[in-house]
């Protein structure tokens, strides 16, 4: 008591004491109160997580598992030793003997078996187990230096976990002409807060869903639960993405960090069948493989590890060599997406680098848990290492062609053409180009309503096109660049990516529209085709004029920046419901769907209403969110007068919401699925080549020259000798 009196004896001491107490109170409030308040504000849950596959083993079970894991490898090793041995039975006996010897076991055993055995670890409990030894890791930097970092912080602050980034260094430009996040007001941008027409939802509203499917082959009335949602690939969060990381203060609670799935990336024997949605008393979340088998087979990262998730966005779910798509779950099987996001697989069968045994990390060289995507990108997906190069040239030099007689001429093309332009002949045929979310189609086999893929193609000029690209992109994923001759003639946002001219595509869209009309009689086929193939027809004239002016005034500088080359870009457009209160010359805010409602009922409006009732979407339509990020978001989006917080649902009905196609197609870079054999000269250099040189901003004289096939004929003539077809 006297101590306290002593402490408060003078006014100065009293002041210091008060300040210290205030500081303590603030710290406690931040640590304890803030997370609760934040969770309540965004309507999200965090709770202690348990996983069924995380089971303790006895010592005997552990040894049996170790033996099982190494059996194949031990057999191969032993068999190789006695390969030349006499009689079959004698060989069998010797192999059995050898398989049990210490040296063979040691060589065949993944290193973690010994580590776990010695440390007495008999159960895998998630990051906690990994961090026992790997609390800190060494990170290699490109300049040869190394640093040591806290492993958990490193992963938690990576894009793989956060799903967004507010760092500058994006090569993305808003339609207002500003480079995204280059100013003082930085907003989190990435997949976490962007609706997209390919998945049709936000990560907030589409994280984990259980869908009751009614497949036709099932017995009468029997339903199956199926898993769907963004969380199947993204390691961040468990009941929801790592929303806390979007805020200027606060951190992901430790329960959520304990949910990080280390093994999906680090284990060689991870069971993708465990990756399904489960329901517990707190809600829906994604299960994972926390078996000791997966933990014991941790090893250096190979392409197969990355492709568990990334083949989904490259080859696609329907790609026949997508291993993860063959293991959709023992229960609650994941719903596979039929239209491919890019249709350029990374697999030995379809990519020359995969066939050569290259691993993803050979080109995408990680620094700790940060993995570079290269300097060029249009899709605004957050980038952990925006300055780190990932390019063909870093291995292939600027003179990569060595075997053709015309190697110098082929190398000469590199000044203007990206390697991918010639060395990706086609995408997978299921590459989706036009997806209609508003008029779903019943899939009897799966027993669910699916968005209708109005057009899919992997052909040049149909599924993808060629655009000038200098590494910059717009806020809605449109490649920026310009013809190096420099002129305003090249204007893809008004031309190539804002309309479809190919008669084959138009005919296919019309056929699909007629098919849809049978189910949706309200469809006006002509108008439908017009909107899908000429999306600018949806803009009122004043917005169209504003659009043209904004492109000239705001984007030309970003287009003329640096050196542009021609790259292939996958094209994509989607019809979705849009909040017309927030419309600008480049589109309106697209609204997410609730997967369960959508897949089960096909009632698209109800699915939007349901998704909009998600608490965090409601917050999006309130003042704090407007000031924190939405106004800035809209400015980049080309809407000059800010975010309007008029909530588009009244009495469970949508208000001022209309179905539209995006005003221009998104363009996604394609860099995989590389073939050794490049294109032929005449693919481009002919009057009906795959490149529209006039549209690419060349003068009529230059177009004539580029289409002139005299050189091509001479080249072909010189190739005409026997057995001289190689062009690489």
């Amino acid at each position: 008591m006297t101590a306290l009196q002593n402490l408060l004896s003078t006014p100065t001491r009293r002041r210091i004491f008060t300040a210290a107490m205030a500081l303590l109170a603030l710290t406690l409030a931040y640590k304890l109160l803030y997370p609760i308040v934040f969770d309540a504000y965004v309507g999200k849950t965090n709770a202690q997580l348990t996983y069924e596959s995380s089971k303790p083993l006895t010592n005997a079970q552990f040894e049996a598992l170790a033996e099982d894991i190494t059996r194949d490898a031990r057999y191969r090793k032993a068999a190789a030793i006695v390969e030349a041995d006499q009689d079959a039975f004698a060989r069998k006996v010797k192999i059995e003997m050898l398989m049990g010897t210490d040296s063979v076991v040691r060589d065949a055993e993944p290193s973690h078996i010994k580590y776990f055995r010695d440390a007495g670890i008999r159960r895998y409990e998630g990051p906690e187990t990994c961090l026992t030894c790997h609390a800190r890791i060494k990170v290699d930097h490109p300049d040869g230096t190394t640093s040591t970092v806290n492993t958990l912080d490193d992963i938690v602050n990576s894009v793989h976990f956060k799903f967004q980034s507010d760092s500058g260094g994006f090569s993305t430009y808003g339609y207002d002409g500003r480079q995204v996040n280059s100013g003082p007001h930085k907003i989190p941008v990435g997949k976490i807060d962007r609706a997209c027409g390919i998945p049709g939802s936000f990560t907030w509203t589409g994280w984990a869903a259980l869908v009751e499917a009614e497949p036709e082959h099932a017995a009468n009335g029997e339903t199956q639960l199926r898993s769907e949602g963004c969380g199947q690939c993204h390691i961040g969060g468990n009941y929801q993405p790592a929303t806390e990381k979007m805020m200027p203060i606060g951190d992901v609670p430790s329960e959520a960090k304990e949910g990080i799935d280390c093994l999906i990336c680090h284990s060689t024997d991870y069971d993708m069948n465990q990756r399904v949605v489960i329901r517990d008393e707190h809600g829906l979340r994604w299960d994972q493989d926390r078996s000791l088998r997966a933990a014991l087979t941790v090893g250096p990262i190979r392409s197969e590890n990355c492709l568990r998730c990334h083949q989904h966005n490259m080859g696609g779910d329907a790609y026949q060599h997508n291993a993860a798509a063959q293991a959709t779950g023992y229960k609650h099987q994941r719903i596979l997406h039929r239209g491919a996001k890019r249709g350029n697989p990374f697999a030995p069968q379809d990519d020359v680098h995969a066939a050569a045994g290259l691993q993803c990390t050979d080109c995408h060289q990680p620094e700790g848990h940060k993995i570079p995507r290269g300097r060029k990108g249009v899709d605004l997906v957050a980038n952990d290492l925006p300055d780190k190069e990932v390019s063909c040239e870093s291995c292939h030099s600027r003179a990569p062609h060595n075997s053709s007689e015309h190697k110098a001429l082929l190398n000469g093309h590199i000044e203007r053409l990206a390697c991918e332009t010639c060395h990706i002949a086609e995408l997978q045929p299921d590459n989706v180009v036009l997806r209609d979310w508003v008029h779903p189609t019943w899939n009897p086999e799966e027993g669910i309503w699916e968005p209708t893929d109005v057009y899919r193609s992997g052909a040049p000029g149909k599924g993808f096109t060629f655009l000038w690209f200098n590494g910059n992109g717009t806020f809605l994923a449109n490649a920026l660049g310009n013809n190096p001759m420099g002129s305003d003639a090249y204007n893809p946002l008004m031309q190539q990516i804002a309309r479809i001219d190919n008669p084959d595509v138009i005919a296919a869209v019309r056929a699909k529209a007629e098919e849809l009309k049978e189910r949706y009689p309200d469809i006006d086929v002509d108008r439908y085709v017009e909107m899908a193939t000429n999306p600018l027809s949806q803009l009122p004239p004043e917005l169209l004029a504003k659009r043209e002016a904004m492109i000239q005034a705001n984007l030309r500088a970003a287009m003329n920046d640096g050196d542009s080359r021609l790259y292939p870009f996958k094209l994509f457009n989607a019809m979705m419901y849009e909040d017309m209160t927030n419309q600008g010359p480049f589109g309106a805010m697209i609204l997410p769907f609730d997967y369960t409602t959508y897949y089960e009922t096909g009632d698209t409006k109800a699915a939007v209403v349901k998704a909009l009732q998600d608490p965090i979407v409601k917050r999006m339509y309130q003042e704090p969110f407007k000031l924190y990020m939405m106004d800035e978001f809209m400015a980049y989006f080309g809407i000059t007068d800010g975010w309007k917080t008029i909530y588009p649902v009244v009495d469970d009905k949508l208000v001022n919401v209309e179905p539209h196609w995006m005003r221009q197609m998104g363009t996604l870079m394609i860099n995989h699925g590389i073939q050794r054999q490049g294109r032929d000269c005449s693919d481009c250099h002919s009057p009906n080549g795959i490149m529209d040189f006039a549209m690419l901003g060349y003068t009529p004289e230059r177009v004539a020259e580029l289409q002139d096939i005299d050189v091509v004929e001479r080249v072909a003539a010189s190739d005409a000798g026997p057995g001289t077809t190689s062009k690489e």
Binding site: S397, R398, A399, N402, K407, L409, N411, G412, H413, V715
Partner: protein
């Protein structure tokens, strides 16, 4: 050292450039047809068909024997501004190059500078004749060296015939130095190695590199008014005497400053030249820091004198007021 490869190669697309003693006088292919002015109009169209491919900045291939990338590109802009800008490609190169793929027999085409330039009408009157260049060059370390990197060294190793032009009075000295040294550095990569750079003895290496051409120290002193010799000296034979530059009459530096003196003269008039280059101590050290310090001392002295004078004046006024 890495050998620099400029338009040099031995496949059907390459042009084998040759030089000096072995080929002078023997490689006078088509050199008689040099009538630049008359063919200027025709040149443009001639060159166009060549440049259709050769203007591709990445037109190159990797030499299968050496593994080096052989650059075949010609920058049309640099070409038209170069010494040879008025020539048609076919003035130097065989007309048969019009065919693509280029005929195999052309791959041994050899071109040399001296022969062509000595045949020109004004060759005798030139201040610095190509014959002289040739004589000097024969004693250059690039010729006398046995090092394998120097094996095929020729005029074109340094002077890209499609881009070369002389520096002119009035150009930014720093830029001249940068461009000149870039040519040397493109082979002498060891100079960028902080442990292997043979200039480790030299104080302020970076400053020297920015301000002085390699040639200024690595050629013998030539007579005043003469251009820099083409006899490049080996490191051990080169100037190591600071005073050659850092003195009142810097013999070596004068060659570089033939550009600057006249620039200065043109820009600042004779007074500043007289003050800074010849007569006065400030500027003689060629160290801006010392110059500034010296000027500061003068300024402080003047200020002191002024203050003193002002004080005296005030004292004078006061005594006068006291008297009245």
């Amino acid at each position: 050292m890495r050998r620099r490869v400029i338009n040099k190669g031995d496949t059907q697309l390459g042009v084998t450039w040759a030089w000096g003693s072995r080929t002078i006088g023997t490689a006078l292919l088509l050199l008689g047809s040099l009538h630049a002015g008359a063919s200027a109009v025709q040149d443009a169209s001639d060159n166009k068909s060549c440049l259709r491919c050769h203007q591709m900045a990445t037109l190159a291939y990797r030499d299968p024997t050496s593994g080096e990338i052989v650059d075949l590109s010609v920058d049309p802009n640099a070409l038209s501004h170069s010494t040879h800008g008025e020539l048609a490609c076919s003035d130097c190169h065989a007309a048969d190059y019009e065919q693509y793929p280029h005929p195999d027999r052309l791959k041994d085409e050899a071109l040399a500078c001296v022969g062509c330039h000595e045949e020109q009408d004004d060759a005798q009157e030139r201040r610095y004749r190509f014959e002289t260049i040739d004589k000097e060059f024969k004693h250059s370390v690039h010729v006398t060296s046995d090092a394998p990197e120097a094996a095929d060294f020729g005029c074109h190793s340094c002077h890209d015939p499609h881009a070369f032009r002389n520096s002119e009075v009035g150009e930014d000295i720093a830029q001249i130095v940068r461009d000149d040294n870039a040519i040397c550095m493109s082979c002498h990569e060891e100079l960028n190695d902080p442990y292997r750079d043979p200039h480790l003895w030299l104080p302020k290496r970076e400053k020297h590199r920015e301000a002085v051409r390699c040639l200024d120290c690595h050629t013998p002193v030539s007579e005043s008014g003469q251009p820099v010799s083409h006899q490049i000296l080996a490191g051990e034979d080169s100037n190591r005497d600071c005073v050659q530059c850092h003195s009142k009459a810097p013999q070596l530096l004068n060659r570089l400053y033939q550009y600057r003196s006249e620039t200065d003269l043109a820009n600042k008039g004779w007074l500043s030249k007289a003050v800074f280059n010849e007569a006065y101590v400030v500027g003689m050290s060629r160290s801006p820091l010392i110059d500034r310090a010296a000027l500061a001392i003068i300024a402080i002295t003047l200020l002191g004198l002024g203050a003193h004078g002002y004080g005296r004046y005030r004292a004078y006024r006061r005594s006068k007021e006291d008297q009245t």
